[in-house]
């Protein structure tokens, strides 16, 4: 079974069809997806900009990330679940869209970046917590996150258009 036929099967399931053809459910899921995404990525951006040494420089970096990131994670869960529903009901369109592939790659890399950060730079945070400008590796992680999430959002938005 090819990936395309799997996508076709998925969107032809009763649930996939019901969501796609609904008057209200699809817009509600889509809107929830966008707002959850704004909340999740918007709060991630606050942490990234602190890591990059742009905002809230007077506050410890650890304080910002510990207090803000739980909300990013909560937003991410909602975004991921609603995203899965959106994919479910239009899997073939997503499969055929180059922007969906770009989005998935950016999403994967953003996750990988966060994971690497967690197990490397984050462990030494105590030594540079109060630095106005964090060390190069922390700044790089912040910048990479900003760029990759920008890619996720721009590619996701562009999926709606045909070129």
């Amino acid at each position: 079974m090819s990936l395309l036929s799997l996508c076709q099967w998925l969107q032809d399931t009763p649930w996939g069809t019901a969501i796609r053809e609904s008057v209200w459910v699809f817009p509600i899921i889509e809107t929830t997806h966008v707002l959850a995404l704004s909340i999740s990525v918007g709060t991630i951006a606050i942490v990234d900009l602190r890591l990059f040494g742009v905002i809230l420089k007077k506050e410890p970096a650890s304080e910002i990330s510990q207090q803000v990131l739980p909300w990013s994670v909560a937003g991410f869960v909602v975004m991921f679940l609603t995203g899965a529903l959106l994919f479910w009901c239009q899997a073939v369109k997503a499969y055929n869209s180059p922007f969906f592939r770009i989005k998935l790659i950016c999403l994967f890399l953003a996750g990988l970046n966060a994971l690497i950060f967690q197990f490397t730079v984050n462990k030494t945070m105590a030594t540079w917590d109060r630095d106005l400008i964090p060390p190069a590796r922390a700044r790089l992680a912040g910048l990479a996150s900003l760029v990759l999430w920008t890619g996720v959002i721009a590619a996701g938005r562009t999926m709606a258009y045909k070129f």
Partner: protein, 158 residues
């Protein structure tokens, strides 16, 4: 007097037509608009969580607000700038769209609220001593900006 001629004029501007007739410009401007909204909502949420006492409790309200005021103003400018471009390219559609009117109402109120009530409590060195007022401002601010986002998304549907 009707607003309709004004919307017609906007729709007929060269910039509006250029965006409307380009394959890439509209999605590009739309993406930047959405990125601006993302940063704006992130900033608003951190500020409101602080006012609600749900985050950054060890940092004084006044310091968090001062630290984020540049980002807030910057993202508002990006949103208004790109929003104006999007509007020019589909002014007639906006004229006929109920969610657009709702959005403008929310947007006007949200900006007004931010630079009056919100700024007053954020600059107040004793904001911590007024928990109820702080929380109220936090809730209203969050609701207003979510209203902007919700109604904005709805323009695409209705």
């Amino acid at each position: 007097m009707s607003f309709f001629p004004f919307f017609q004029w906007c729709d007929a501007t060269a910039i509006g037509a250029a965006i409307r007739n380009s394959r890439w410009l509209f999605p590009l401007v739309e993406s930047i608009h959405l990125l601006g909204l993302t940063v704006l909502l992130g900033t608003v949420i951190v500020l409101d969580l602080r006012l609600l006492g749900l985050g950054l409790r060890r940092q004084p309200v006044a310091r968090v607000a001062a630290g984020l005021s540049g980002l807030m103003a910057g993202s508002v400018v990006v949103m208004l700038g790109t929003g104006l471009l999007l509007f020019l390219s589909e002014a007639l559609k906006c004229y006929a769209s109920p969610p657009f009117r709702v959005k403008m109402l929310f947007l006007f109120t949200a900006i007004l609220f931010h630079y009056t009530a919100f700024r007053a409590i954020a600059k107040d060195k004793r904001a911590e001593a007024r928990p109820i007022l702080s929380k109220l401002v936090g809730v209203v601010s969050f609701a207003l900006w979510m209203g902007v986002g919700l109604a904005g998304r709805a323009i695409g549907f209705y």
